[in-house]
């Protein structure tokens, strides 16, 4: 993994995280874990994403994604008691952070040069 910031270079194939780009839900989950700052358990992550996207999410999909991300080493969980109930609290690992950052960089590179004014005009019909 290179230490340089990927966006600082024009290298067409930068060496990035092997997990990037993350899937849409994966990306949303990692971002939600970051935003929750320590209180990231399943229900909180789901609510955070639903609040931000305004869409209903399947509970099972969120928990399964959290578990998959941990299996990949992008998140790590510990057990804690929150409001009297045992919960898995999630935190982002350095690998997870790199994967998320790389995902964002890739997306930005992809968006580079897109005429946003024209896009909005198109979308407005």
């Amino acid at each position: 993994m290179s230490g340089r910031h990927p966006s600082a270079t024009r290298d067409p194939l930068p060496a990035g995280s092997p997990h990037a780009p993350l899937g849409v839900l994966e990306e949303q989950v990692v971002v939600a874990v970051l935003r929750a700052r320590g209180d990231a358990f399943g229900m909180e992550v789901r609510r955070e994403i639903e609040r931000a996207t305004g869409r209903e999410l399947a509970v099972g999909a969120v928990y399964a994604t959290l578990d998959r991300l941990e299996a990949k080493g992008l998140l790590v969980s510990t057990r804690a008691t929150v409001d009297g109930a045992s919960r898995r609290l999630f935190a982002v690992t350095p690998d997870g952070a790199r994967a998320l950052a790389d995902t964002r960089t890739m997306r930005e590179r992809l968006w580079h040069g897109v005429d946003l004014a024209r896009l909005h005009a198109l979308a407005a019909g």
Partner: protein, 890 residues
């Protein structure tokens, strides 16, 4: 609207949804996720109301299911368990199964020989059963394509009712709502300038489709009046023929040239409809003649729903009384006796059952043998793993878990075998459809996905059977004792009782199949040993059919031209024609009156009309008098009075009617109207079926018979026996050139006519012999496996003995004796079972009893030879082993 305050417990979640989620969730996360769902549900209940909350919940269950299943699967497959769950690992039971599957897959890959033999052995059984199921299903299981199938029955004495009888009874047959009469009515079809071709059809009264409850796809069926004399000739087409003629709906109302006359197409039957068999492709309304006396009709009738057609005795008594009142029957054709109605299914398909069931049964036996084989192999594997199993058991694995592993291994083998079996079934399907004696059903059998479903279902059953023996052995044995034994493996070489039991079972099953095949072989040999009284080698047969509305005189002229052209073909020694050939079933009978024998009133003989060359071509033997010759002058219309025909009769005719007289010159009556003078006596010929008792027969000269039918069989004798097949193409060409209005119904050889007369037994014999061969091979593999395992287990034992001076030949002898003993016990068990099996074959047997010592001896001998040969290989290998090598091994 209820408000949920933070202090109150959340509202209960609907039970079913909660249970489904609980089922799908890994154990460690179950409470957390369900608490999340409950909290959200309670919030929504307070905010949006009960209905909305419930809808949300069910959306959650449905949308979460795939993700949750994937989650469980991934954890089980990868073994990942988050450290946070250290004391409460997740994962449902699926996990242990997946772990076992991985282990079993590794074991099978490490033992490719075992895996391959097991999969192929099972695949043979599974594929065979699935293929026969596929072919037999339309005959044995599929419902008949008629709405009224359950209410329809077929009358007794089929193919013998006359139009006169039917019209006399029509509309007033007690117990029946409607009755239809039908007879075969193959027609020639002229389509444009193409040569005439024959279309298998049925001539029927108008009630047929209503009796059956069959609705046409296009147009209409037949309706009352269509079968009246002088009505417009109409025809209903089968789906296949309609497709061949273009498949346009506009065919309804159009006209087709059938049998030289125009007929209007009034309807098309749907795909899948057949009656009385799938070969028939059109149904024509037959103008019924109240005086028609041609006895070739069959009757089918429909009763009221809920009435059993087999329970109509009182009604049939009334019916026979009606017949008795009006008609006077000869003893052989007395319809007032033995009146009975057969359910339609049995009448149409019943005769096909014995052969199919015998083949299906033999194939099921092969599958059982294959299962026993694989079970024995697996048992050997379990025994070979006894040390490993003992260690696992000592470490805490319970028997349930060890059995589960066996089941998983068997399931893996089963899946492989089902896949291979399905491929085998697909390949074998067509071959079987042709090889089984099911006629048109074989031609119309279609291969479809149900065959794969069948293969899978059979595979599951096979897996359960296979796993039975090893599991029992696992539950019975003392696993830990194996741990002690492992250190001295080889010295104590007993055990394997169940393995031997399986081999005995295999041999017994193989004995069943082999003895069944042997019975049929003997039976078929007996059938071929019957002398039909005619030459069957070097004779070609061409059946032709012409238009119906052609005068007999013209037919005779065409026929003479045809025969002359055929005689001119290279390699042809002579030819002739007859209305009906021997060995093709009875029929065509006339009553006979013999002077001085008033007691033979009301009896009939076969009548056969032929050209002079016919007798010579078929090699019929003259016993007395003379053959037809030039002195037998042709009949002319002017001869209607005072003309005496010349006839030949067979020996049975003489024996029965003129036992004490010289038959030559005797004049008999009955039949064509004119008196008939016997000029010669022929040796008996199997004019009906091959196995029929000899029946009196009269032979007429074609030129003297007042009429000649629209169909004829040409017999062509070739100079060399092997040319009979080769002359057929040339003969077809002659028919097309000389008689373009004639269609060739069938071009075959007399040998094949004989083969067909031998009947289904011949085809079943071929199949069963093949299966018996397969059973022998599988049995040999089983014996080989068990004996090899036995020899291996006692290897050290033998080595010690040989080291102490035992001759290696004794080692070989002892091991072979073990194998032979197993085969012997199996044969004895098989002999007992084969008596029961033979009853199943009874209707196919001729001249052999169900328990036939030579057949049993042949089957037993074959099994013994194969068994000893299979045991010899491992025995010889053990005998040739250097004891020093074995003793140094441990």
């Amino acid at each position: 609207m209820p408000i949920v305050s933070p202090g109150t417990p959340p509202a209960p979640v609907p039970r079913l949804a909660a249970a489904l989620l609980r089922l799908l969730l890994p154990r460690a996360e179950r409470d957390e996720v369900l608490a999340d769902v409950r909290a959200e549900y309670a919030g929504r209940l307070g905010r949006d109301g009960a209905a909305s909350a419930r809808r949300w919940l069910w959306r959650q269950v449905v949308a979460s299911a795939p993700a949750l299943l994937g989650w469980s699967w991934r954890r089980a497959w990868t073994g990942f368990e988050p450290p946070a769950n250290a004391y409460s690992p997740g994962g449902p039971m699926l996990r242990s199964w997946i772990a076992d599957a991985r282990y079993a897959a590794r074991r099978l890959v490490a033992r490719p020989g075992y895996a391959l033999v097991a999969v192929l052995t099972l695949a043979l059984g599974i594929g065979g059963v699935a293929a026969i199921y596929g072919v037999a299903r339309p005959v044995l299981l599929d419902p008949l394509p008629y709405a009224h199938a359950r209410e329809v029955g077929s009358f007794w004495m089929p193919f013998s009712w006359t139009e006169q009888e039917f019209l006399h009874l029509r509309g007033r047959i007690p117990g029946f709502r409607q009755v239809a009469a039908y007879t075969s009515g193959d027609v020639t079809l002229r389509d444009g300038d193409a040569p005439a071709r024959l279309v298998p059809g049925l001539s029927t009264s108008a009630e047929l489709f209503e009796v059956l409850g069959a609705t046409p796809l296009l147009g209409r069926g037949l309706r009352p009046g269509d079968d009246a004399q002088g009505a417009e000739p109409v025809v209903v087409l089968g789906y296949g023929l309609w497709q061949e003629l273009g498949g346009e709906p506009s065919i309804v109302g159009s006209r087709l040239r059938l049998d030289g006359a125009e007929r209007t197409v009034v309807g098309v039957m749907p795909r899948g409809f057949w009656f009385p068999d799938p070969a028939v492709r059109l149904w024509a309304a037959r103008p019924l003649d109240p005086e028609g006396q041609n006895g070739s009709y069959s009757l089918v009738g429909r009763v009221a729903p809920g009435v059993d057609v087999r329970r109509l005795e009182p009604q049939l008594r009334q019916l026979t009384a009606m017949l008795d009142e009006r008609f006077d029957y000869p003893a052989d054709w007395d319809k007032t006796r033995d009146a009975a109605v057969t359910p339609l299914r049995e009448a149409l398909l019943g005769r096909l059952h014995p052969g199919l069931i015998a083949t299906l049964g033999a194939m099921a036996l092969i599958l059982l043998i294959a299962c026993a084989n694989v079970a024995a192999l697996m048992l050997g594997q379990v025994e070979g793993r006894s040390a490993e199993l003992a260690v696992r058991s000592a470490l805490g694995a319970d028997r349930r878990r060890l059995t589960q592993q066996l089941v998983v291994e068997a399931l893996l083998l089963g899946v492989g075998a089902a896949a291979a079996g399905a491929v085998l079934a697909a390949v074998g399907f067509r071959v079987l459809a042709r090889a089984l004696p099911i006629g048109a059903w074989g031609e119309s059998a279609r291969f479809d996905w149900t065959l794969f479903a069948a293969a899978l279902a059979v595979a599951v059953v096979a897996v359960l059977l296979v796993v039975l023996a090893p599991s029992v052995s696992l539950w019975r044995g003392d696993l830990r004792a194996g741990l002690g034994g492992a250190r001295t493996a080889g010295i104590q070489g007993r055990g394997g009782r169940m393995e031997r039991g399986l081999v005995v079972a295999q041999v017994a099953l193989a004995m069943l199949v082999a003895s069944g095949a042997a019975l049929l072989v003997r039976s078929v040999r007996n059938l071929y040993a019957i002398d039909p009284g005619i030459r069957t080698e070097g004779v070609a047969v061409v059946d032709v059919a012409g238009d119906r509305d052609v005068p007999s005189a013209e037919r005779r002229r065409t026929l003479a031209a045809l025969l002359a052209a055929i005689d001119a073909l290279p390699g042809v020694r002579g030819s002739g024609a007859a209305l009906k050939l021997p060995l093709r079933g009875g029929g065509n009978s006339f009553d006979v009156r013999v002077p001085g024998r008033p007691d033979v009133e009301h009896t009939t003989t076969f009548f056969r009309v032929a050209t002079p060359g016919y007798f010579e071509a078929l090699g019929m033997t003259l016993r007395d008098g003379r053959m037809f010759d030039a002195s037998d002058r042709p009949y002319t219309p002017a001869d209607s009075v005072g003309f005496t025909m010349s006839i030949l009769v067979n020996q049975t005719f003489v024996r029965r009617y003129l036992p004490d007289r010289n038959p030559i010159g005797v004049v008999v009556e009955g039949g064509f109207g004119a008196p008939q003078r016997i000029v010669g006596v022929l040796a008996d010929v199997a004019e009906g079926g091959l196995t029929d008792e000899p029946t009196p027969a009269r032979y007429y000269l074609a030129s003297q018979a007042p009429w000649w039918g629209s169909t004829a069989s040409l017999v062509i004798r070739t100079a060399r026996a092997e040319d009979a097949e080769g002359v057929l193409d040339a003969a077809r060409a002659v028919v097309q050139r000389v008689a373009p209005d004639y269609a060739v119904q069938e071009a075959t050889t007399m040998r094949r006519v004989l083969d067909r007369a031998v009947g289904p037994a011949r085809q079943i014999m071929a199949l069963l012999s093949l299966l018996a061969g397969l059973a022998l091979v599988l049995g040999a593999v089983g014996i080989y496996g068990v004996v090899a395992h036995f020899a291996l287990r006692r290897r050290r034992d033998w080595a010690v003995r040989v080291a102490l001076g035992l001759r290696p030949a004794r080692v070989v002898g002892s091991i072979v004796a073990q194998g032979a003993a197993l085969v012997g016990v199996g044969i004895v068990a098989g002999v007992v079972g084969s008596a029961a099996l033979a009853r199943l074959l009874a209707s196919l047997l001729f001249g052999v009893g169900a328990v036939d010592p030579p057949a049993l001896a042949a089957a037993a001998g074959a099994l013994l030879v194969v068994g000893v040969a299979a045991a010899l290989v491992p025995a010889w290998r053990t005998g040739a082993t250097n004891p020093a090598v074995v003793l140094r091994e441990q």
